[in-house]
Amino acid sequence: MELIGNLVLQGVQMLVVLALAPGLTGLIVKVKARLMRRRGPSILQPYRDLARLMRKDVVLADNASWLFRAAPYMIFSATWVAAALVPTFAIGLQFSWTADLIALVALLGSARFFLALASLDVGTSFGGLGASREMMIGAIAEPAMLLAVFTVALIAGSTQLSNVVAFMSSGEMGIRVSMGMALIALIIVAIAENARIPVDNPATHLELTMVHEAMVLEYSGRHLAMIELAAALKLLLYVALIGCLAAPWGIAPADAGPAGFVTGFLFFLAKLAAGGTLLAIFETSVAKMRVFRIPDFLGVGLMLGLLGTLLLFVSRSL
C-alpha cells in the first residue's frame, strides 16, 4: 500500500514537471515582451504551439534514417527522467535514489548526444554547424557543471539530490563562499545549456550564430513538438535545481501529508515564477556574444566550480 502511494507521488512529480514546463517558457516570453513594452503572447501560447505541432504532418527529409525519427523520443525521455529526479515540491520520492546528481548531468549529456546525432542525420550544413557548436559548448559546460556538483556534494556530504536538499534546508550549513561560487557556476551553465542569451538566442532563425535552432531545423510536426517539450523540460529542470539549492525552503519531506505537498507545490510555483522572471530580466539586459567568446564565459563557470571545490578540499583539513 505504501509502495503504491509512493509510486503515485513519483508519478505526480513526473506529471507536474511535464505540465509546468511549457508554462515556464511562456512566462519568460511574456515577461521579456512586457520589459520591451510589448504585450506579448499569452503565457499559454507554448501549450497551443505544442498542440498545433501535434496536429501537423511530419515532413521528413528524403534521406532521414530511423535514428532521426527515434531521436526525439530518446531526447524527450532522457530529459523527462532527469527532470523527474530533481526535487520540486517534495524530496525522498520513491526513485530519487535511482540516479544522483552526477547521473543527472550524464542523462542531460545523453539528450545532447542524441540531439547532435539527429542533427547530423539529414546531412545539411546547418545541422552540422549546430551540432559542432553544441558539442563545443557542452564540452566546457559539462565539466563546469560537474565541478559545481562536486562542490555541492562536498558541502552536503552526498550526491543524492534529496539528501542534499534535506541538508540545505536543515540550516546546518550557514553561509558558504564555495556554495555561492557553485551557484554562479550553475547559473552560467544553465544559461549556456538552455540556449539562452548571451550564449544562444532562442528566438532567432536563419542567423549564423544560432546553435540549438540550427540543430532542430529539419524537424517538424510531432517530432518537433517532442524536442520543444524536451527543451522546456530542461529549462524547468535547471530552474528547479538552482531553486532547490539556492532556496531550499518549502520543499516537503517524503512523509509530509497532503497539506505539506500542497505548500511545497505553491512554493515551487513561486520559485519557478521568480526564476523565470529573473532570467527574462537578465536576457533583456545583455547582448548575444560571438561564438568564440562563449568559451570565455563558460570558462568562468569552470573556474568558479574548480575554485569552490578547491576551497572545500582545503577547508576539510582545517
Binding site: 535511482t98 546531412g123 551540432a131 543524492q160 510531432r222 574548480l306 583539513s317
Partner: protein, 667 residues
Amino acid sequence: MIAFAVCSVLCLLGLSLAAIGMRDIRAASAIVYGASGVLCAGLVVVGLRVLATQADAESMRVPVGLPWLGAHLQIDALAAVFLVLLGTGGAAASLYAIGYGRHEHAPLRVLPFYPGFLGAMTLVVLAADAFTFLLSWEVMSLLSWAMVLTHHREEETRSAAYLYLVMASLGTMMLLLAFGLMAGAAGGYEFAAMREAERSPGVAALVLGLMMVGAGSKAGLVPLHVWLPVAHPAAPSHVSALMSGVMTKVAVYGFVRVAFDLLDPVVWWMSVPVIVAGAGTAVMGILFANVDADAKRILAYSTIENIGVIFAALGLALAFRANGMDVLAALALTAGLIHAMNHMLFKSLLFMVAGAVLTATGRQDLDALGGLIHRMPKTALLALVGVTAIAALPPLNGFVSEWLLFQAVLQSPNLTQPGLQFLVPAAGGLLALAAALAAACFVRFFGVIFLGRPRTNMARDAAETDRWSLAAMAGLALLCVLAGVVPGLLIDLIAPAIDLVLGARMPAQADNAWFTLVPVAEVQSSYSGFLVMVFVAISGGAAAAAVYRFSSRRTRRAPAWDCGFPDADPITQYGAGSFAQPIRRVMAPMIAARETVIMPPPGDMGPARHSVVTEDLAWTRLYLPLSALVGLAATRLNALQFLTIRRYLALVFASLILLLTGLTIWN
C-alpha cells in the same frame, strides 16, 4: 585450473607454429581463428571459476628457462580478472576475424602471429617471476610488431612499426631495470621473494617511476604515447582491437601487479606523478581524437584517453592506500579495473566497426564516408551502442566506471596532504573535461561515418558486413549493455582481486535492490543503471504511445529543408575538419593548432585556401630533439668503428677498470 590455463597457452603457441604450415589449406584462417576463439573462451571460464570460487592462488613451476629459476606460473584473483578480460577480448576478436580475415590479401602475414600473441599475453598475466614476465612481455611486443607490419608495402606502416619497435624496446628496458631493482642484489627473481623483500622509499619510488615508463609506454601514457596512434591503426582491424582493447590492459596489469602487489605500501607523493600523468593523458588523448580525421586513429587516440582515466584511478588508489584508507583505495582501484574491462568491451567493438566500414568501403578517413546507416544498418546500430558506451552516457557501461571514479574523487578531501588536496580536484575537473570531450569526439565519429549523405561512391555502394563479424560485435555490444545495467555483478566478481592486493574490498553489491550501486553508503550516493534504463524506456514508450494516439500520424517525405538551400552537394555537409573546428579553436594552444587562410586579392580568380596544422607537442618538442641528439651522438661515435686493435683493447681495458672501480666504491 593453472594446468588448464597453461595448456591453453601451449595450444595457442602450438597453433602459431601449425599456422606456418597451413599455406595450402584454404580454410586456414577459419581453423586458426576458430581454435584461438575456443581457447580464449576457455581462458574466460578459467578466470571466472577462480573468481567465483574465490580459490586460493595456484602456482606451478615449469623447468624451462634459467636452470636455477625455472618458469614460475601462478593464477590468483588478480590474474584471473585479467584472464577474463583477455579471454573475452580474444574470443570476440577471433570470432570477428573468421569473417574479417577472409578479406586479407596475405593471411599468412597474420595467422602465425595471432595465436602466439594471445598466448604471450596470457603468459604475461600468469607469470610469477621476473624472467617469465619479461620474456613473455617481449614476445608479446614482437609478435604484435610483426602484425603491425602486415601491410608492409605502405611507407607509413613501416615507419609506424619502426617507431613501435623502438618504444617497445625502451619500455622493456625500463621494466628490466625495475625488476632488477626489486630483485635486489640477492637476485630474488620470483614474485614471492619480491613481495617479502624490504626496500627503502627511494628504491620503491624509482621502481614505480620505471614501471610508469615501462608499462606506460606500452599502455600509451602521454608523453610516451607517440607510437600508439600510428601503430594500432596500421594493423588489421581485429589485431587493432586486440592491441587497443587487450594489450594496453596487459600493461595496466603489469603496473597494478608491481605497484599494488609487489611493492610495499608506497609513500603518498609517489601517487602524484601517476595522477598527473593519468589526468593529463586523458585530456590530451581525447583532444587529439577530436581533431584527427582517420577513423582508426581516432579510436587509438581515444584509447590513450581511457588509459589516462585508468591510471588516474590507479593513482588515486595509491594515494588512499598511502594514507591507510584501504576501503577507499578499493573503490578507486575497482573503478580503474572496471574501466579497463569496459574499455576492452567498447574499444574492441568500435575497432571492429571501423574494420567493417573499411571492408565495406575501402576507406577509413572520415571525409570519404557518410550515410552508412542506410547501407549498413546492423553495423550502425551496434556502433551506436559502442559510441554511447564510450561517451560515458547512462545507462551503458562507460558511465558506470566514470561514475565510480568521480565517487572516489569526492571521497578524497579526507586525504591529509595539501599537495593531494589541490591535485585531486584539479584532476577531477580534467577527467570531467575528458568525458565531455569524448562525447563530442564520438558524435563526430558516428555522425560523419554513419549519418548524413555519402561523400564518395565507395560509401554510397557499401554493403553490410558478414555474419561472423556481426556476431562478434553484437556479443560485445550486449556485454556493454549488461555491464552498464547490472554493474554490481562485475564489481562483486572482481572483489577478490581487490581484496588480494589491498586487503579490503568495496561493499558487496549483490544484495542491493534493483541492481543499485552503492559504493560507500546509501546516504552518500547510489546509482541504478537498470532503473535508469527502465525509466527511460517506459517514459519514451509512454510518450511515443501518447503521441501515436493523439497526434496526426501522417508522415511525408520531401527534400531536406536546410533553410531553403536545395540539393546541395554532399561536400557541403559538415565533415571531420569542420565539425572539429570549434573545439580545435578553443583548445588551440594545447594541440598547437594553427589555421591559415590564403585569400586571393579581389579580382583574382584563384581559389581561397584554408589549411589547418596541428602538432603533437610531445613529438616536436621531445622526440625530434631527442632523436637529433641520438643522431649526433651516433655520428660522433662513428669514429670508434675505425680504431686499431690496440686501441680497441685499450677501450675494453678501460671499461673493465671503470667497472672495478665502481664496484669498489659501491661496496
